[in-house]
Each structure stands twice: as structure tokens, then as C-alpha cells.
């Protein structure tokens, strides 16, 4: 009846695991109680959960990412604390629990923080940057959000029911096979990753089509803002890379569920095939995470230097070059596999080549700032912090590309990829969050707490990861639960202090958000253009109307909004307004997400009747949406006119950014 699910699945085995489970349960109950007490279920359902408005979906994506960031960071803090105390002792975490934590930390940070964060930014910004009123496939967008949320929910519920995978975030066989890992942990990993990966692949298709097909008239490819270019390249990578991960995870699932032999040691299976398939996705994924941040930096640098971006075309070409190069270097993630020297030489040399277009990009930003009037706002601080620290990450990457060097699989590697992904991706998302927050909500984020958050993050980052570089040189392997070398402990204690600084950074971001909501009247941006922006998203109201643009603008070059302001025009106001057709809300996306959660949960615990219910539910949700013939509504011209005349138009070139 309940498959493998018994009372033993509850975490009675450890006080710490029980504490985590209780926190999750009480947090969910608390949110449910709060919404009920406020009587906001109807509002939440009609205005947010079922919305097909890309801005709302974007805000929900970013909210998911920030919540999961807290969970992923708690995992990190627990690991740092364990390693700080585990000299010649077991520390406070048993090995199996420690392994779960490093697996869930990485899985969460990649699939449920970084991806939702960048997709959220795409949603809020890209349609407005290209002058579109909606995405190409609005329902698919909602479905992707709820698939991702279902995956995140699976990782969270694994805290309460059963255990998560101990096989690392890449779940390498043979350890992840049923023979060595008969528990449900790896199944939790497989299903969470599958749901999220399917959502990400479809999101890539959605934005790819939107950018190719729905640009404002006159906007040629070489006039698109750099964030849109970065999004386009990211989408191409998503479309080509994610299928490989889906196939790898699905074949691993077949090995585990049906006793097949794709990646087993015996019966003709090949472990390295899994590793190769995984990294065919995994390496492009690094750029899926980093390119959107590069796009944010380009926008932020241009806006806060008050100049057109330097070398627009070379930045576009380097973004495209990074996109293609990122597809030819996947073997450098397993240089120690034992391939021949010709193979290793090819992939070892291809990897540092990416430094060339990356350097072009960085020089583009530096030359934009040179002789510009740089305003040191919070997004700009994150950008500058990124440029300085990312150079170190790039250098250490070149070192890791040397095949025979003896630091693969040490904490040097851990430090290296955190050095790429914290400044290279997360700082970019934070910069984008600070930069476009007024776009989404109509008021700025408070500066003082933003600065404090930045300093806490960058100091914490350096303290946490520079010691790991040194430890890597000293030979400390990654993922170590206990160790016997007293020389390592001081460095690990410093790294622990770094994690505490980052904790402050997260708290400061929360304080900033709370303080900004409280002072929202003082921080309001009635003109909708708080930073004296250059690209089209600032031509709409902040927050934008459901249809974004009452009149779709004509574009004649890059930075069209800047050109309009220079010409003395305000937001375009036509003599006559027209009806606008927009997609209706749909509950099918939420149902699809909920049902895929039920399906995946049932598959994990092998409750076959429940899996059948979930599968039927997924099918029914998709079918009901497919057969809705009138899934759109018309906003009459009079209503559009009323909304537009309520808007305070930006006097050209008057609005200034606070410094």
C-alpha cells in the first residue's frame, strides 16, 4: 500500500536531522497559518499562483531562489562547522549525514537557487527589454515554474521523510547504483533533478522563441541589449545541454528501478558514459549560470557609468564565442579518467581558451567605466567586487586545466568553482535583483543595508575560500568528514569565519528588504526610471502594466530609451489607444506542478497506485489547458488609456539616481 514508506522514514535517528525536519514542517505550517490569518488565499491564488504574467512569474522564481538560498547556505554553514571541529574527532555530524548535506547543498545551489534566480530575472526583464507584451508560450512558463518548485519541494521533504542522496551532487555510479545505495536518497536526487531539468529545458525554448520572434519592430539582433544577448546564448545552451542531463538521470533511474546496466560495473555497463553525459550538460551549465550574470554586469556598468557600453559588438561576439566554446570542454571535469594524452591535450588546451572572450568582456566593462561618471550604487559594488575576485577564479581555472598537476579533487577545486559561481553568478544575480527591484515593485531597495550586505558577502567570500585554495595545495581532499592533520585546522577555522560573514550578508539582505518595504513611500520611483536607464525596460511604468507597453515602440539602435530621452521624448503616448489581448490566468500550471510532485514522490517510495494518480493528474492538467479554446482576454482601449493616464510620465533626463 505505501511501498517502501514506513515509520522508519521519519528522522528519529538523529537530533540534528529531527531539528531540520521540524523547522521545515513548522515553517510550512507557519506560512499556511499566516496566509489564512490574513485571509489572502484568494488573492494569492488569482493574482500570483495562477498568473501567466511573466513579471509575476519572475518574482515567484526569485522568491523561490532566495528561500532555497537560505536552505543551501545552512547546509554550507553546517559543513564548515563540521570541518572546523573534526580534527581527530567525529565532529557533530555522523558521516552519512555529512554526505547528505554536501549533496543537498550543491544540488540546491545549482538547481534551486541559481537556475530559478536567473530565470526569474529573464522573466522580469527580457520581454520588456525587447519591447514584447508577453512571452511566446505564457502557459509553458507557468508550468516550468511549478515543475521547478516541485523539484525544490522534493529536496525539502527529503529532510522530513527519508534521507537525501549521499552520492554527491553529480551522483556518479557505481556508488549511486542500487547495489551500493539501495535507499531512496539517490531517487530523491534523480526526481528532483529531472523535474527541474525538464522545466529549465522548456524555459530555454520559451525564451529562445520569444527573443527570436517577439522583438519590437526595428530591433535587429545587433541592437538587442546585452542582457538579452546573454539570455539568448543561455537559452541556446539550455536547449542543447539539459537533454543530456535528463538522459543521464533517466538512464541511472532505469538502472536502479529496472535493473538495467547502462552504468553498472558489470554486464557491459560503462561508468564513464554517465560521467561524460553528466558533464556534457554540466560544463555548459556553468555558462548557463554565468552568462546571465555577465548580461547583468553589462547593463549595470553602462547605466552607472552614464555611457554607452564600450565595444558592444565585441561583447556580443565574445558572449557567442563563450557559448560555443563551453560545448567543447566537458572532459576537463574528468581529466583524471585515464584517457589518452591526445584526448587530454585537446580538452586541457580548449579549456583556457574561454579566458580569451571572457577577458574581452571584462575589458569592455573596464573601458566603459574609464572616463565615465561611475556611481557607486549597490549593483555597481557587486559588479566591481565580481571583477576583482573573478580574475582569481579565472587564474586558478587555468591552473586546474593542467592535466598532471596534483590538485584535482582537492579543496582547491572547491575554492575554484565557488570563486566562479559566487562572484561570477550569484553577485550578478544580486546586482540584477538590486537593479531591477524598482522595475518590478515601484520602489528602490534601501542603499545602506545593501552596502553592508555587499561588504559582508565579499569579505565572507574571501575568508571562506582563499583558505581552501591553500588547503588544496596542502593536499586536503574535498568532502572530508574528519581529518588528522593539525596543520589544516587553522585554515578551516578561518573558512568558518568566512561562512559567518556570509551569514551576516544574508541577514543584511533580509533587513534591507524589510526596511525598504517599510520605507517604500520614501523610496518610490514614480517616474519608473530611477537609474536614468538606457534600455527599453525603463520605458514602461514601474511596476509595469500587465501588457508592459501600451504602444510597442519602434527601435532604431542600441539603448533605445536613452535615444528617446535624448530626443526629448517621454514614454510614447499615442493619439489613440487600441485593445490589447493578453493570456488568461490558468490553474493548470499549479496542478501540473503539484501532480508531478505527487508522481515523483510516489515513484521515489515505489507507491505505484499513487504514481498512477500523479501521472493521470499531469496528463489531465496538460490536456485541460490544451483544450481551452478561449485562453485570452481583451483589455479594452479605454482601460488601457485609463491606466496610462494615471502614470506619471518621466520628464526626459531629469530623473537622477541617488549616489
Amino acid at each position: 500500500m505505501l511501498g517502501k514508506l514506513t515509520i522508519d522514514a521519519l528522522p528519529f535517528y538523529s537530533g540534528i536531522a529531527m531539528g531540520g525536519a521540524l523547522i521545515v514542517v513548522f515553517a510550512v505550517l507557519g506560512v499556511v497559518a499566516l496566509v489564512t490569518w490574513l485571509g489572502q488565499w484568494r488573492y494569492l491564488w488569482t493574482e500570483w499562483l495562477t498568473s501567466l504574467d511573466h513579471k509575476r512569474i519572475g518574482v515567484m522564481y526569485v522568491t523561490l531562489a532566495l528561500l532555497m538560498l537560505v536552505r543551501g547556505f545552512i547546509d554550507a554553514l553546517m559543513m564548515r562547522t563540521q570541518q572546523a571541529v573534526a580534527l581527530n574527532s567525529d565532529g557533530y555530524l555522523p558521516p552519512g549525514h555529512f554526505d547528505q548535506i554536501f549533496t543537498s547543498h550543491a544540488t540546491i545551489m545549482v538547481f534551486f537557487v541559481a537556475i530559478p534566480f536567473l530565470v526569474g530575472l529573464f522573466n522580469v526583464v527580457v520581454p520588456q527589454q525587447i519591447g514584447a507584451r508577453r512571452l511566446a508560450f505564457p502557459f509553458m512558463n507557468s508550468a516550468c515554474l511549478w515543475l521547478t518548485a516541485a523539484g525544490a519541494a522534493l529536496v525539502m521533504i527529503s529532510l522530513v521523510i527519508g534521507k537525501f542522496s549521499t552520492a554527491g551532487w553529480n551522483a556518479y555510479p557505481p556508488y549511486s547504483e542500487a547495489q551500493f545505495n539501495p535507499d531512496v536518497g539517490v531517487d530523491y536526487w534523480i526526481w528532483a533533478v529531472l523535474l527541474s531539468a525538464i522545466g529549465s529545458m522548456l524555459t530555454g525554448i520559451n525564451f529562445l522563441v520569444t527573443i527570436v520572434k517577439r522583438r519590437a519592430p526595428g530591433m535587429r539582433l545587433m541592437m538587442m541589449p546585452l542582457f538579452t544577448w546573454a539570455t539568448l546564448c543561455t537559452n541556446i545552451l539550455m536547449v542543447f545541454a539539459f537533454p543530456s542531463l535528463i538522459v543521464a538521470a533517466a538512464l541511472l533511474g532505469l538502472d536502479r528501478y529496472l535493473g538495467m546496466h547502462f552504468f553498472t560495473d558489470g554486464d557491459g555497463g560503462n561508468v564513464m558514459n554517465y560521467v561524460s553525459l553528466f558533464w556534457i550538460w554540466g560544463h555548459p551549465d556553468v555558462y548557463i549560470l554565468i552568462l546571465p550574470a555577465f548580461g547583468v554586469y553589462s547593463e549595470v556598468v553602462a547605466t552607472f557609468s552614464g555611457r554607452r557600453i564600450f565595444g558592444y559588438e565585441s561583447l556580443v561576439y565574445s558572449t557567442a564565442a563563450i557559448t560555443v566554446l563551453s560545448l567543447v570542454v566537458w572532459l576537463h571535469h574528468f581529466l583524471t579518467m585515464g584517457a589518452g594524452s591526445d584526448v587530454n591535450a585537446f580538452f586541457g588546451r580548449a579549456a583556457p581558451l574561454i579566458a580569451v572572450p571572457t577577458a574581452v568582456t571584462i575589458f569592455g566593462w573596464l573601458f566603459t567605466m574609464y572616463r565615465g561618471r561611475v556611481q557607486f550604487t549597490v549593483p555597481m559594488l557587486f559588479t566591481l567586487g565580481f571583477i576583482v575576485t573573478f580574475v582569481i577564479g579565472g587564474m586558478t581555472g587555468a591552473l586546474l586545466a593542467v592535466v598532471p598537476v596534483d590538485i584535482h579533487d582537492t579543496t582547491f577545486l572547491v575554492a575554484h568553482f565557488h570563486n566562479l559561481l559566487i562572484p561570477g553568478a550569484l553577485f550578478g544575480y544580486f546586482a540584477g535583483y538590486q537593479y531591477w527591484f524598482p522595475k518590478a515593485f515601484g520602489f528602490r531597495l534601501e542603499e545602506k543595508w545593501g552596502r553592508r550586505a555587499f561588504w559582508a558577502w565579499i569579505v565572507g567570500f574571501c575568508l571562506a575560500f582563499i583558505p581552501l585554495y591553500i588547503l588544496g595545495f596542502m593536499g586536503m581532499p574535498q568532502r572530508l568528514n574528519r581529518y588528522y592533520d593539525p596543520g589544516w585546522q587553522p585554515y578551516l577555522i578561518v573558512a568558518e569565519c568566512g561562512a559567518l560573514f556570509i551569514l551576516c550578508g544574508i541577514i543584511f539582505l533580509a533587513v534591507q528588504l524589510a526596511a525598504s518595504i517599510r520605507n517604500r513611500a520614501a523610496l518610490a520611483v514614480p517616474t519608473g526610471d530611477p537609474w536614468d536607464g538606457r534600455t527599453l525596460e525603463w520605458a514602461t511604468a514601474s511596476p509595469p502594466a500587465a501588457y508592459n507597453f501600451a504602444v510597442v515602440p519602434h527601435v532604431h539602435g542600441i539603448d533605445p530609451w536613452w535615444a528617446m530621452k535624448q530626443a526629448g521624448a517621454t514614454a510614447p503616448r499615442p493619439a489613440r489607444f487600441h485593445d490589447i489581448i493578453m493570456p488568461d490566468n490558468s490553474s493548470a500550471g499549479v496542478v501540473l506542478g503539484a501532480m508531478s510532485f505527487v508522481f515523483a514522490f510516489a515513484m521515489i517510495w515505489q507507491i505505484w497506485w499513487l504514481a498512477a494518480v500523479g501521472a493521470l493528474g499531469i496528463f489531465a492538467a496538460v490536456l485541460s489547458q490544451t483544450f481551452r479554446d478561449h485562453a485570452e482576454h481583451r483589455i479594452p482601449a479605454s482601460e488601457v488609456e485609463a491606466i496610462e493616464s494615471r502614470r506619471i510620465l518621466a520628464p526626459a533626463l531629469v530623473s537622477g539616481a541617488p549616489t
Binding site: R215, G218, L221, L327, V328, W330, M337, A339, D342, V343
Partner: protein
Amino acid sequence: MAAPPRLSKMPISPRRRQSTIKGYLVGVVLALVLTAIPFGLVATRALRPIQIFVVIGIAAIAQAVVHLRYFLHLDLKPSSQNKLIALCFAGVVLFILFGGTLWIMFNLNYRKM
């Protein structure tokens, strides 16, 4: 490349609707046949293993072509230049990924023999 004009919602004429449905049905049948052949071969072991591999490979490529032709409506007419560029790029990427994987795996196999 100029941004294309917005597509207006045009009612589909009965004739076009019929031809579309026919296209999809042909596609589904072909896809099913091309799926059945490899499964059948593996189940019955009618050929030698190496021959089965080759047939599976050919059926997989044909399957991809069927999907592109009948479900994504890709053709080689000059009017669909955008699609052609996308297809060429996909070809390059697939060459890199498949060719690279084969190279890596055969190299490893050779060294581990």
C-alpha cells in the same frame, strides 16, 4: 535580420486543418515503426550485435528526421532560412557532442583493454 511582424490569430481553414492532422498521423505512425524496429531486434536478436547497433543508429537518426519534418514542420525551402541556420548550428553542436563522446569513449576503451 529584421524582427518578424506579429502573427495574427488566423482561423485555420478546414482544408489546412485536415492536411495538418494527416501530417501528424503520418509522423506518429513512422515514429512508432522506427521505435518498434530497434526494440524488436533487441528482443529477438535476429541480427549479429554489431548489425543491431548499426540499425539502431540509423533508426534513431531517421526518428529525429521524422520529428523535425512532421512535428516541427521543418523543410528545406529557402523561405525558412532561420530554421536552416538553427538546424546547421544544431548539426555542429551534435557533431561536437556525439563525435567527442565517441572519441573519448573509444580512446578510453582502447587504453583499458
